[in-house]
Amino acid sequence: MSNPIRTGALLTLLAASAVGWAESACTVSGKDTFTTQVDIGASATQSFAGDFRSQGVSTVFEKHCGSLDCHGSAARNMKIYSSGGLRLPNEAGAAPGQSATTLEEITANYLSVVDLEPEQLTQVRAHGADPYSLLILKKPLELERHKGGPAITRGDDAEACIVSWLKSGTAGVLVDKNSCTKAANFPSQ
């Protein structure tokens, strides 16, 4: 018997891959949606979604934000799922601390991040706005009040990873995988 949440997440991933991350975000007007599609392009959108997993961006969010008492709490609006934290309901019995983060969970993390401020993210991705205008950076850097305090610090690998991901695909910017890998080793002993 299929799990409806898992099925939903997979369908969402397929939808996000097919039509791009921005489409679900761009509800302001049909013109905006069309412009965003043209500006970003399907391949860039697929890379943005794919890089979130393949370049280790999700892992950075999981490690820095996703503990059970922070965004790994079911009570948070922006939920981050991970092996060591909150799990998507599953039939395999995977609980916090057991088995690897699943593709469905990474997909859910991606949607958590891009759906936080969809219109502003479109501005960053398609129109070159400053990535630091996004809550996804302002909160963990504590440029804006963050109950959990500074989850990343200015100049560290996590910041480099996330900023490079947000800028990726524009002017030849690639995701800084090296920084993502280093930032995933968190907290270090």
Partner: protein, 196 residues
């Protein structure tokens, strides 16, 4: 005559409104969380032995009912995943994000607490627990909540197995040589809500 009747009523109303205003300033998350913990266990007075396995910092924080004794990190260490028998003298070894370290020990019901005067950690914190030659490392960090039981909920399995993990335990089963805990303890080392 009339004025002397109205004035006391006015002051009574003003006093009532002031009290209501003060009460409404209480954080409902804290007051609700504290109320949800229920009453004290019979026979265990408030103190270092009470409420083993419960989220300590719900009350022991600024604005909490036990704000006069705030904790930055506190919890309970049990022996087994299936029972809640406190482990006496277990070490809790903590390292914060700036590399400062602090170690404390449990009492005979398994409770431990760290006050802000002892240590002011910068979250996240890495934790391991140990006794004799047994060491157990927590897989993830403590992000910001000083109550172990906030995530390490009681219940075998926890009510929500996808967002909670069971109580903290050191051994795979009973403590070697002390299956029922420290029998000389002033309080029962077996938590009141232990499943077995």
């Amino acid at each position: 005559m009339r004025a002397t009747r109205i004035i006391p009523r006015f002051f009574g109303l003003a006093l009532g409104l002031a009290v209501a205003g003060i009460m409404s300033c209480a954080d409902p998350e804290i007051s609700g969380g504290a109320a949800a913990l229920g009453k004290e266990t019979s026979g265990i007075p408030k103190g270092a032995f009470h409420r083993a396995g419960q989220p300590c910092v719900v009350c022991h924080q600024d604005q909490g009912p036990a704000a006069d004794k705030p904790f930055v990190v506190a919890g309970s260490i049990f022996a087994s995943p299936l029972r809640m028998v406190g482990v006496n003298n277990a070490e809790i070894r903590m390292t914060d994000s700036e590399g400062t370290k602090f170690t404390t020990k449990t009492n005979c019901v398994g409770n431990f607490m760290v006050t802000p005067t002892q240590w002011r950690p910068h979250f996240p914190i890495l934790v391991s627990i140990a006794k004799d030659n047994i060491v157990r490392q927590m897989q993830g960090p403590i992000g910001r909540d000083g109550s172990c039981a906030h995530c390490h909920a009681n219940g075998v399995p926890p009510d929500d197995p996808f967002s909670q993990t069971g109580h903290v335990y050191l051994y795979g089963g009973d403590e070697p040589g002390s299956p029922n805990g420290d029998v000389t303890c002033a309080a029962n080392p077996i938590a009141a809500n232990s499943p077995n």
